[in-house]
Amino acid sequence: MNVPGGWRRSRSGPDAGKYGAGPHYRNEGWGFILPAFLCITIFYFYPLLQSVVYSFFQLEYTTDWLHAPFVGLRNYAAVMGSIEFWQSVRFTLLFTAGVVVLDLSAGMLLAIAAYWIHPALRALLRTIIIIPWAIPRVIQASIWRWMFNSDVGIIGTLLVRLGLAAEAPLFLADPNLALVCVVLTYVWKGASISAVFLMAGLASVPQDLHDAARIDGAGRLRRFFAVTLPVMFPTLVVTMLFRLRDALRVFDVIIGLTGGGPGNATESLNTFAYRMYFDFNNYGLGSAYAFIIFLIIGIISIFYMKKFLGRFDFVR
């Protein structure tokens, strides 16, 4: 992967530091970075902290925490004790694990197909693979909900016509099938996203490595596992990180497709917290949930980054 500033040590660059007079910092940098920083503070850090503040109060139907009773960690205790919360954690983790694996595999297959296919079709195929990415998730959920319709959905109809099922199954009413449907809908777009990343990675594998391997007599499959994958490892890691973070935040697809599923079978972390905020208007409890969700996502991401990316220090 490319790091800012390049892998090669530049003789003269911002960090050379070996100039005679010692490091000489450019303070106009503040002017450049302040707007972005301000924006992020206002819309990321302030709300984050404000949410944490909310979570220590009993806030129902109002967010006026200055006049609300302080309840300390009671909201957090309620979260930890809520069985439904842990069910949604379990669902989200299972969903994420399944989806990331499927995403990457399908994405890899698509990327390889785009790489291998006849040159005449290559550009067209690449375009077609990217198209699902453009579709907003909520709209995609509507499309798939229509396809999973129990009476006249095309998927049920095809299953029956191909003889794979006696009659069209009730996709969204059966707890197990609903899970499959959500995963399938999510992966449809996710595979495209992964494919784009992986296509970029595939293209970066130098041709001479391939040639050397071929000269050495390695077959296609062997070449893939011995040469391509290892070289693409950084790409795979970054792609997986993105898909992981995305999957942990699944919301739109579930809202559009099952609304939480039969019972609460497809209730994810985000839909659960959203329900707390906007269906029950319990902002104190909802903020506690949201903060715990943030911790979960944050810890998983940081753990992942640490393990696979070594240091955080992207900037040389």
């Binding site: 800012p4 940098g29 195929l125 996502i297």
Partner: protein, 279 residues
Amino acid sequence: MNSRKRRIYYWTASLLVFCVITLFELGPLIWMGLTSIKPAGSEFSIPVRIFPEQPTGENYRTVTGEGFNIQRALGNSLIVSSTAMIGTLLLSSMAAFVIARLRFRCRHTAFFTIQLAGLVPPIIVIAPTFILLRNTGLLGSLWAMILPHMAYGIPLATLLITGFFGSIPVEIDEAARIDGAGSGRIFFRILLPVISPALFSAGVLSFLGSWGDFMHAFTVSLGLPRLQTVPVAILSFSSAFQLQWTWIAAGVMISVVPVVAIVVLFQRYLIGGLTRGAV
């Protein structure tokens, strides 16, 4: 002889793979398109027909007419997403410049902070952001969507552009500095044009991200049609007209056209920008 057979196999196999992939990727859209030209009500006829008996454009007329007015949502989305994209690109490229190029004391902290912000899930920021927008009087205008989207796009865009800077030789900066140019000049006049591929790809990504955002746009739209963006409008269609799938299909097809067009036109930049950037 052998090589000719090989070529035919290659061609056939390619076509087969092409068709399978196209079916999987475009199938849902095609089905939606077919549904949208069926006469209203006929989508529930059993047995299910794939192709309509009498294709009609009436659903499109309904959906662009009064009461639905999907053009307004399209217009809103276009305004919000383009403005947010421009803002994001400007702010991110400036930040990336500082992180990647300037001898700036806090480059590392800055980069880390910005990426940390990207870890924050939308669900935790949504309520306080809503209240903030209310208190500043922005709620009820499109700015309530533009400004947050601008901020939400910054982490990813910064990552991409910072990475891209790595493939630009530092000599360009140095030459300019020797000529006596200040940082501002270097950035705006010299570097900005050079990083334009990254700007394109980061731009497309942030445009798509803003276009597809639902949670925030839904909350901030207050249920008022004049503030709805495309995803919100489509969902409100689906709930308001639960059984009218032909109408929903027409709405979906219309809303999907601009983004698909953008992606098709700029797909080269998407992949290219990623290759030379963070990936």
